[in-house]
């Protein structure tokens, strides 16, 4: 298997505070990898550095073997890095299908065309519709996004990211805010994602993590504490120690 995403000695400091401390991390092609850790461990900072929203203090990031450390968000997206947001980040005034079609159009490099009408690009719409259908959202395509149930909005969030045909997908708490009875719907979608995409999931819901991930990395205080299979992680005494502080809530 090949490595699609890699960080070498990635550091981020805000003044005296170190939120990422020499993180070495590898994501394999087609991986189902989870990043977990207590609140404030630096997970979101790590993801933001991967996507280019935050510039690391030092260290390097490789995407498909290419050093992307200094590239913009847009450049990284074009090289196949997709992400979803912890809090829904959607186009509220638009229909569901347009939410997805915008991303399809950008991927195809025709999002800035000025003269033909958007709806004459039937292939863009069809691709968006197919994607929505694969996530069970076909019936909601014409609904205004703001009127969609929250759980379904989470799925649109994933659909937009998939529309970019990423090689690497960063899922930032895909089940956040979804009632626990409905998380299985999210999980169904995740299970059906194309096998070749390397997925890194950041999630608090341990049931979801252990059902989905084949590999788990634990981040504590900005540093990698441990990496291994779910079995290894579950068996490690240090993990329980880290989580004891959090588990009583």
């Amino acid at each position: 298997m090949s490595v699609v995403l890699e960080t070498r000695s990635l550091c981020k400091r805000f003044g005296a505070l170190t939120v990422a401390d020499h993180i070495d991390f590898q994501l394999q092609a087609g991986a189902r990898h989870a990043l977990i850790g207590p609140n404030g461990a630096g997970k979101t900072t790590f993801v933001n550095m991967l996507t280019g929203r935050l510039a690391p203090t030092s260290g390097r990031i490789f995407l498909g073997g290419e050093d992307v450390s200094t590239l913009s968000q847009r450049e990284r997206v074009r090289r196949g890095l997709g992400r979803t947001f912890q809090i829904n980040s959607l186009f509220r005034g638009l229909s569901v299908v347009d939410n997805v079609a915008l991303a399809v159009a950008e991927r195809r490099g025709m999002g800035g065309r000025l003269f033909r009408s958007a709806s004459s690009y039937a292939d863009v719409r069809d691709e968006a519709m197919a994607l929505l259908a694969s996530l069970g959202l076909a019936e909601d395509a014409q609904v205004n996004l703001a009127n969609l149930a929250y759980g379904k909005q989470r799925l649109v969030e994933i659909a937009i990211t998939l529309a970019m045909k990423p090689r690497v997908l960063l899922l930032d708490e895909p089940a956040a805010g979804v009632p626990s009875i409905e998380t299985h719907r999210i999980l169904d979608v995740l299970d059906a994602l194309p096998a070749e995409i390397g997925i890194l999931i950041i999630e608090h819901d341990m049931d979801l993590v252990f059902r989905f991930a084949k590999r788990i990395t634990i981040l504590v205080n900005g540093a990698t504490l441990l990496e291994g299979t779910p079995e290894e992680i579950a068996a490690d005494p240090r993990v329980r120690e880290v989580y004891l502080g959090e588990r009583h809530d």
Binding site: R74, R116, A118
Partner: protein, 333 residues
């Protein structure tokens, strides 16, 4: 009634969208004594359309679009009064080119900022132009305004007459062309992406959209439209006053736009028509009460009817439809 670039909405021009043009032509024949007011309204519709593109569609809150309107007006005026270029098409082209330059140059600098800073920068740019126009009296005429503007017949055929007939037709035709182009832009993938940026610029960036470039393009296009409007104003009035650059007039334009409805294309039509006809009828008799009324209206619209007049129409239509579908026993939650 909302017109949005969409991958699933037909861009076909609906029957009702021909109504303004029908009215525009009818006004020429049935209201000949109001042609100069009519031409002014057409100019302001075009100006409002340009502002709608940036404010309503791209979501750039600017107070400085008078810079482009004014630049277009002065470019055409100076060209005629000081350089001796009287051909209207040439004046128009120079106005468009100078606005494109100013729009691209200032846009490239200021569109990186947001919020108060952006507001401030747009305001400061317009203020600079006002200051220049005010002080460079030898070129612009300063506070007295720029007069001595002559406009040659259009294509050497249509002379600008005393009754403003040619001017009216010119405004109507130019507005039609600009409306057609703007509408195409709005329905294009580019237009759809502008709405995406307005709704969520962070997300647009994260799906790989070149947000700054899109905004800059929209800003420059809109600057060119405003420049056309400015040049038209000069050609119809054969005079340019400092007020084209003033903050009050920029504010007034925003009033017209929100009165009609922001981000809907036709809000830019309805607003200036209603506003300027009302102004024509009322403002001279009661100048104090006029601006009081405008203020109250603006506050009321913001508090109670954010969508403007067309928004109210939408609500009424939606209400009527809901009445029907309730019959079918299918009430949307």
């Amino acid at each position: 009634m909302r017109h949005n670039g969409s991958y699933s909405a037909s861009p076909r021009i609906g029957l009702i969208e021909w109504l303004p043009w029908l009215l525009g032509v009818a006004a020429f024949f049935y209201l000949p004594e109001y042609l100069s007011l009519g031409a002014r309204i057409l100019v302001y519709i075009l100006y409002a359309l340009s502002v709608d593109l940036v404010v309503g569609y791209a979501g750039i809150v600017t107070l400085g679009h008078s810079a482009f309107f004014g630049l277009g007006a002065y470019a055409a005026g100076i060209l005629s009064a000081k350089v001796g270029v009287t051909d209207p098409m040439l004046q128009m082209l120079v106005a468009i080119a100078s606005c494109a330059l100013l729009g691209a140059a200032t846009g490239a600098l200021i569109l990186r900022t947001r919020g108060l800073t952006l507001l401030m920068l747009t305001l400061a740019i317009a203020a600079i132009l006002l200051e220049v126009a005010n002080k460079a009296t030898s070129i612009t005429g300063g506070a007295d305004g720029l007069s001595g503007i002559t406009v040659a017949p259009i294509f050497g055929l249509f002379r600008f007459d005393l009754f403003g007939k040619t001017a009216y037709w010119m405004c109507l035709v130019v507005l039609f062309i600009c409306w057609w182009i703007t509408r195409r832009i709005i329905y294009s993938p580019f237009g759809a992406s502008l709405v995406g940026i307005r709704e969520n610029h962070v997300r647009m960036a994260s799906i790989g959209s070149p947000v700054s470039m899109r905004l800059l393009t929209a800003y420059t296009l809109s600057a060119m439209l405003a420049g056309v409007a400015g040049a038209l104003l000069t050609q119809t009035n054969q005079f340019v006053g400092l007020n084209v650059l003033s903050f009050e007039s920029a504010g007034e334009l925003l009033v017209m736009l929100i009165l009609g409805g922001v981000g809907r294309i036709y809000g830019a039509f309805v607003g200036p028509i209603v506003y300027m006809i009302a102004q024509d009828q009322l403002a001279k008799q009661f100048p104090e009460y006029w601006s009081l009324g405008i203020g109250v209206l603006l506050v009321a619209i913001v508090l109670f009817a954010r969508g403007g007049l067309l928004g109210i129409v939408d609500l009424v239509v939606a209400h009527a439809k809901r009445g029907k579908s309730a019959f079918a026993g299918k009430e949307a939650p």
